[in-house]
């Protein structure tokens, strides 16, 4: 996608070199993906359904190991470090999974607070931050509810809330507003872009190439990156 950054450029948050992955159900796999997202950058990965967006996001989010090629996150090779080291690295990521992966036997507040709890944030700070976050997401009235009691729009907002709760260095969001109404989607995108402006690296995957004004875009076509065409 771009050449290695010169020394004066900001450090690279996510670097994929010759990344490939075998085919999976409903997708074409990935082949030869090269990209670099600098720290504080914003990349939008787009393409049709089954083009490999979720596969790419799963590998960037350390849910899958690449079949070939190299992945570097925040200057580290995640598959070259210990399991503990990998867990520490995961704590620096904020993930919005395509399937949301909310935990059914936890309340909305507990789900949102999970990354902070895992990171060992003090309970009083955790309560305060989660309260603010749920209010921002329009979920404050549902803090004690279970994910099963929410509609899909609310579940998606909760998934985004959980992704940003741990003050991550990189947010990897797979279709973060796919099921939301326009108002909620605009609100969530505003939050993500605001975090990006504050220095958080943002990688989003969506079928909509115009979802947000991303300075970096990568279109996947049947698992291969389409060369970027600049106007």
């Amino acid at each position: 996608m771009s050449d290695p950054a010169p020394s004066s450029s900001p450090p690279i948050a996510l670097r994929l070199t010759g990344l490939s992955a075998p085919q999976r159900a409903g997708t074409d796999g990935l082949e030869g993906v090269n990209l670099e997202v600098p720290e504080g950058g914003f990349l939008l990965v787009h393409g049709d359904a089954g083009a490999g967006k979720s596969l790419l996001m799963a590998m960037a989010g350390l849910a899958l190991r690449p079949g070939a090629g190299r992945l570097q996150l925040l200057g580290l090779d995640p598959w070259g470090v210990s399991r503990q080291g990998r867990a520490r690295l995961r704590r620096r990521l904020g993930l919005v999974f395509q399937d949301l992966s909310l935990i059914d036997d936890m309340t909305v507040a507990e789900n949102a607070a999970l990354p902070m709890r895992i990171a060992g944030v003090r309970p009083e700070v955790l309560r305060r931050d989660v309260g603010e976050l749920l209010t921002w997401m329009g979920l404050s009235g549902k803090a004690a509810a279970r994910p099963g009691d929410l509609n899909h729009d609310e579940c998606q907002r909760l998934a985004v809330a959980r992704a940003v709760a741990g003050r991550p260095e990189i947010i990897l969001a797979d279709e973060p507003v796919g099921w939301m109404g326009p108002e909620a989607a605009a609100r969530v995108l505003r939050l993500l872009l605001q975090l990006n402006r504050q220095g958080v690296t943002l990688v989003m995957a969506s079928r909509n190439p115009d979802l947000a004004p991303a300075p970096q875009k990568l279109e996947l076509v049947r698992g291969r990156p389409r060369p970027e065409v600049r106007p």
Binding site: G61, L62, L64, R83, Q84, R90, F97, L102, D104
Partner: protein
């Protein structure tokens, strides 16, 4: 109304039953070991001298003389002449309950208690009696002592086998308990791992969620074994605090072993399942 049993209740019951069986095996084994050891020690500390019956019957004078010779032999602590009716009782299995005049043809028996510090040897007693012209057979209870050891071996094999089978069952129960919990919480655990929870914390959470049922199951099993042991008289009859101490220690150790085996396999399974769930 549908009866809803708590999660893990079946595993809890299996654990309790297997721990109770393992406890009874251990208690039974310890009791057999102790009883046969007491018997063997008592047999080793005594000899029995049988005065061969004379055609006209053995006179009391001859028996008393033999007893005096034995009492004067080095390594003998005490000598007891068994009266005719006692001898008839002891030999009843071989004499078909001889009575009346038939008692005269039975040998007279002398129980010889040995000095435990320097016990007399069988040959020494036989030589002393022979030198005095007493026709006697000295039995040092070798045969009975072998029987005691054989009995111990024969009892130990099935008890040890039973204990091993129970421990294998407990290992499986511990493993199943964690597997069931991992299955139930699989999606949540996978999400936690993907969000950066350390594998160690995940193992701990999985293992600790099974500890109550493992611990309480083993405890209940131990209590059942204690109750059954007392009821079936495996513990020493006329039990008091001192005599109950040893069975209690054995049962406590067996229960702890059961809990440790189930817990160890639960922990190993938690480690394996966490590794499988980790992306």
């Amino acid at each position: 109304m549908k009866l809803q049993l708590p999660q893990g209740f079946a595993t809890f019951l299996i654990l309790a039953a297997l721990t109770a069986l393992a406890g009874l095996c251990a208690l039974g084994g310890a009791t057999v070991l102790e009883r046969t050891e007491v018997w063997r020690t008592r047999l080793a500390g005594e000899m029995t001298v049988a005065i061969r019956p004379a055609p006209a019957g053995t006179s009391d004078t001859e028996v008393i003389r033999a007893a005096e010779i034995l009492a004067g032999t080095q390594g003998v602590a005490e000598v007891r002449v068994l009266d005719r009716s006692r001898v008839a009782g002891l030999l009843a299995p071989w004499t078909a309950g001889a009575r009346g005049p038939d008692l005269a043809i039975l040998p007279r028996l002398i129980a010889v208690e040995l000095d435990i510090r320097a016990p007399a040897q069988r040959q020494g007693l036989a030589d002393a009696l022979s030198a005095a012209g007493v026709r006697a057979i000295v039995d040092d209870h070798q045969g009975w002592r072998r029987t005691a050891l054989d009995l111990r071996r024969q009892a130990a094999a099935p008890l040890l086998g039973g204990l091993a089978a129970c421990l294998a069952g407990l290992a499986a129960a511990g493993s199943l308990s964690v597997s069931r919990e991992a299955e139930r919480r699989g999606q949540a655990l996978r999400t936690r791992l993907r969000l950066g929870e350390s594998p160690g914390d995940c193992v701990r959470s999985l293992f600790l969620s099974c500890v109550p049922e493992l611990g309480l199951g083993a405890l209940l099993g131990g209590l059942i074994a204690a109750a059954l042991g007392l009821a079936s008289g495996l513990a020493t009859p006329g039990a008091n605090a001192a005599t109950l101490a040893q069975p209690a220690i054995v049962l406590g150790a067996a229960t702890a072993l059961c809990a440790v085996v189930a817990g160890a396999f639960a922990l190993v399974t938690a480690l394996r399942r966490t590794r499988d769930m980790e992306p």
